[in-house]
Symmetry: C2
Subunit: 360 residues, 2 copies
């Protein structure tokens, strides 16, 4: 049943949609993997046109997923990918030569106005433009030369969950196809989905007791490094939009370049620790936060390696460490659900937000 | 007298160093302009080598200045500039072909470890590497092929002010030289410096009364768009490090994609409004914040165009709108100084920070 068909007097448990979509993520991931042929086709076109500079655009969760794309393309085909400035072309009219660029335009609805405009301008200046969206019939899909369907299915909660996970998976899968390893990556995606199916109920059973002590927290830093910086951004956004916590994402290193001075025992820090080369940096930053008196939550595949954490939410390791972010975002999503419930907020419909953001 | 020579028992007014360096900014800017020949030389090398993909790296204020560089290079020579991932190469060992890239490595001290490592790796893979630093004898300067001296002079307050302004000016001047307009841009920089000389005492006279009502504010959003996003990031960082306010920078558009849900009357918003093509977007976002009950501070060259702002801190218009950020950061610097004083904090020496950050 789509949200348009909901009876007006439906009695809905606050957060029921948000939770249902978190639970649905493994199935959404499986639907994406089935579309591998689309990804192989787009990747082949990127190679043929030598359009190997990857410009990603999007807002909110879509922009957070783009932070992951930087690593997926940098590590698999070895291409340069970055989050491009939308305002440079849309507002200021800059027209760089984009003939060697692929644009990946990320929008759940395919209706974000300045993302559509960016794509129109980029296509006119020679870029290979690809819409990555849940709606292959959207304005964005029509504006772009190619479409990669996110296949997350209708998302009814305002705060994105399964769309974000599928955006991360889509960027990883496209990068893997570009590097000639699409099939293997797809298998690993399926394996990560299976791990997620076990992780969600385990976390659901204990997350309320972890969230409860944060009922009056007004602010938080969420730190990550490398591939997990995207996760830090996404968890911070969930906390902002569903729990009204002023949560700011920072790289582990940037924490020491100023923000650490703001910490005190009423300013908790969430650290996402991956079992990869960035771990010492993350552990060091978490130690600085603890030394400043901050309450520390540790999550991620190396959560137990973060010394002195007050709450530990480990996530399973994946064979490819690049797939860690698919799992490490889940504790943040469920924590946001639980904290919103604890605070009497409705994470399905945060005040002042609507599912499709048409703001310029 | 360098800080090393300060007598231990020196009686220093808290914030005296920070304020002195804000006041010194016009003089620091003048010193930078005198080095135009260095900028012309580096720009000529970039053109000769066709190293027109500009990768900027830095942490904290340096990374904020890099946000400005995206626009300076995008609008003047029409080149693609972006804030590159440090961890991709330093931690994960990615080695993309950088033969057509210029690296601009921004570090006040020239001693930031992962920035030095990034430069070493980039130079080995073909990039034209340029250190932009206050210390031409630093490790970073030695690692890079060329050095652009920031000429800000010794910065004694831990929180950067004149270094940030000179980093912004340096990126603008280099971009202008690359576009063949260095001399004109240098004149406009001097004109902006003259405007700043008048702005600082005017703002100093009234900033305490603006800051006082925020003594108990625990969090804030700072919004900007386009060239002023760098300013939003820098003002937020000053508030975090000197005032212990959880201040988060957002583009005007991203505010609507989630974070607006967190706003209430105890969550103020600072809006930086430029008299350029992004103004309607900024005004729209400020309206959303006001509708959510947020107290609104407006600054920038179009501050008076932000309807319903509770505090208005206009900055003079510049002939080149690209130079607006040199002036629009000043109200934020002085507000941070005044708020820190109001709260009994010492903005010269924020707790937990040191002038040179060696954190990885």
């Amino acid at each position: 049943m789509s949200s348009a068909e909901l009876p007006v007097d439906e009695v809905r448990d606050p957060g029921a949609l948000f939770l249902a979509e978190i639970r649905e993520q493994p199935a959404a991931l499986a639907r994406l993997v089935e579309r591998i042929a689309d990804f192989e086709h787009v990747a082949a076109t990127m190679r043929e046109r030598r359009a190997t500079t990857v410009r990603m655009v999007g807002h909110g969760s879509s922009d957070n997923a783009a932070s992951y794309g930087v690593y997926a393309f940098g590590l698999l085909p070895g291409w340069t990918a970055f989050r491009d400035s939308i305002s440079l072309s849309v507002y200021y009219g800059a027209r760089p030569d984009l003939s060697r660029s692929t644009v990946l335009a990320l929008s759940q609805s395919g209706r974000t106005p300045d993302v559509v405009q960016y794509v129109e301008r980029a296509r006119a200046t020679g870029a290979y433009t690809v819409a990555v969206t849940n709606d292959p019939g959207s304005e964005l899909a029509n504006a772009a030369e190619a479409v990669l369907p996110l296949s997350a299915g209708p998302e009814r909660a305002v705060a994105a969950t399964k769309t974000y996970v599928n955006q991360v998976a889509a960027l990883g899968l496209l990068a893997a196809c570009a590097a000639g390893g699409g099939a293997v990556f797809a298998e690993e995606l399926s394996a990560a989905g299976a791990l997620m199916s076990e992780l969600v109920p385990d976390l659901e059973a204990r997350i309320m007791s972890v969230a409860a002590p944060f009922a009056f927290a007004g602010r938080m830093f969420v730190i990550g490094r490398g591939v997990e910086f995207a996760t830090a951004r996404e968890i911070a956004l969930k906390l902002l939009e569903t729990c009204r916590v002023a949560a700011e994402p920072l790289t582990a290193t940037d924490l020491a370049h100023g923000p650490v001075a703001a910490l005190d025992p009423l300013f908790p820090v969430w650290a996402i620790a991956a079992e990869d080369e960035t771990l010492p940096t993350l552990v060091d930053a978490a130690g600085r936060a603890r030394a400043a008196g901050a309450t520390l939550i540790a999550s991620g595949s190396a959560a137990t390696r973060v010394g002195g954490a007050h709450f530990v939410l480990p996530t399973p390791g994946t064979r490819l460490s690049l797939l860690g972010p698919l799992l490490s975002v889940v504790p943040g999503q469920l924590f946001a659900w639980a904290l919103a419930r604890t605070k009497g907020l409705d994470p399905d419909e945060p005040r002042g937000l609507s599912k499709v953001t048409l703001a310029r």
